[in-house]
């Protein structure tokens, strides 16, 4: 709350007396004048007041901070504003998704190679063991050494199964990416417009333009 000798940034900017019940005071402290200046320039004080009045008090701080962020982005980039940020982040995410897909492919190649090698070794060792068993029934030293070698591979197999399970669950990232695709979100917004519009205008033009 503003004190009598310290008006909030909004009242300072608007050159008016800061009342004790000032709606802006909790969110625009006097030490952050640029915050209100930006918000005022993009949205206007009366629009911000209307927006805040429609929200619960506990939501207002988050709303003001997000408005301040949007205003700052719009001032930095008057053409694209926050949409430019969204586009950039989507591009970054797509790149990372491709990198992840390639990494998973490479990992599965290693795992397949490991499994194939292990199975091949087991098969060959089993054949060798069977051969040795037939040839030398009493001597088990070479079989013992080979069995020890098998033990290491068997230890690896459960971990590989864990990796494969993780590989399957990682595919959920693709669904998340689609859900946040800017085109999809525009489509959803247009669908909502169709539902809420009372026969005013052709919303398909808005969708095509977007």
């Amino acid at each position: 709350m503003a004190s009598s000798n310290s008006p909030c940034a909004a009242c300072k900017f608007l050159r008016r007396k800061c009342q004790p019940e000032c709606a802006f005071a909790p969110y625009f402290p006097p030490d952050q004048p640029q915050k209100f200046a930006n918000v005022h320039r993009i949205f206007g004080a009366s629009n911000v007041t209307k927006l805040l009045n429609d929200l619960h008090p506990h939501q207002r701080e988050d709303a003001v901070n997000s408005l301040a962020y949007e205003a700052e982005m719009r001032l930095r980039d008057p053409v694209y504003g926050c949409v430019g940020v969204i586009s950039l982040l989507q591009h970054q995410l797509r790149q990372l998704q491709m990198d992840l897909y390639c990494a998973k492919s490479e990992l599965s190649r290693y795992q397949n190679l490991s499994i194939t090698t292990t199975h091949g070794l087991i098969a060959s060792e089993s054949a060798a063991a069977a051969y040795h068993h037939h040839q030398n029934v009493s001597s088990g030293s070479s079989f013992g050494r080979d069995h020890h070698y098998h033990y290491h591979h068997h230890q690896f197999l459960p971990r590989e199964q864990q990796v494969m399970r993780g590989f399957e669950s990682g595919n959920n990232y693709d669904a998340s990416l689609l859900a946040m695709n800017i085109s999809a979100s525009l489509g959803q917004l247009n669908q909502l417009q169709h539902q809420s519009a009372a026969g005013g205008g052709d919303d398909r033009h808005a969708a095509n333009r977007s």
């Binding site: 206007g44 701080e61 988050d62 949007e70 990494a103 979100s185």
Partner: protein
């Protein structure tokens, strides 16, 4: 001419001049478009913003203003900043997953390079621990280019 007014001038109930700045971007057959931006930004603010942009870019600017206004109407608390938050979180998650997969690849490469009967779990555990540390540090190095302000509310 009353029938030739753009959506903005119709909304404001005024004459639409031939050089109306709104007319190319807010046609009369889409009143919802101007109504959205007017509700969030106000008509005069939109006009001022368009005036400051070169004419060749005003179409894009009007589209992005419309998109942001729609986001704000749908989500009055976070608007399109909520989308930014989700994307940032998803980028972080994907970076972590990528680092984990890379660690596993490195382990496999090590197995191929070193004789198999010399490897033990202690060695692999050390590699994974060091790689995890790199993952944690990597999260800070690979942060998105647009840094969110410190007071940005966490969207969860």
């Amino acid at each position: 001419m009353m029938s030739g007014r753009c959506a903005a001038c119709k909304n404001q109930r005024r004459r639409c001049p031939s050089d109306c700045i709104f007319a190319p971007y807010f046609p009369a057959n889409d009143p919802q478009r101007f109504a959205c931006v007017h509700r969030i930004y106000g008509g005069s603010n939109v006009g001022k913003m368009l005036q400051q942009i070169p004419p060749c870019l005003r179409d894009q600017a009007a589209n992005t203003l419309y998109y942001e206004a729609q986001c704000r109407i749908l989500d009055p608390v976070y608007g399109c900043v909520g989308i930014i938050s989700k994307l940032s979180q998803e980028i972080q998650n994907t970076e972590i997953a990528l680092a984990q997969i890379q660690t596993q690849i490195d382990c496999h490469k090590l197995q191929v390079q070193q004789p198999k009967d010399e490897l033990n779990f202690n060695v692999l555990s050390t590699i994974e621990a060091e790689s995890s540390f790199d993952v944690l540090q990597g999260q800070n190095r690979s942060a998105p280019e647009y840094q969110l302000p410190s007071q940005f509310p966490c969207f969860n």
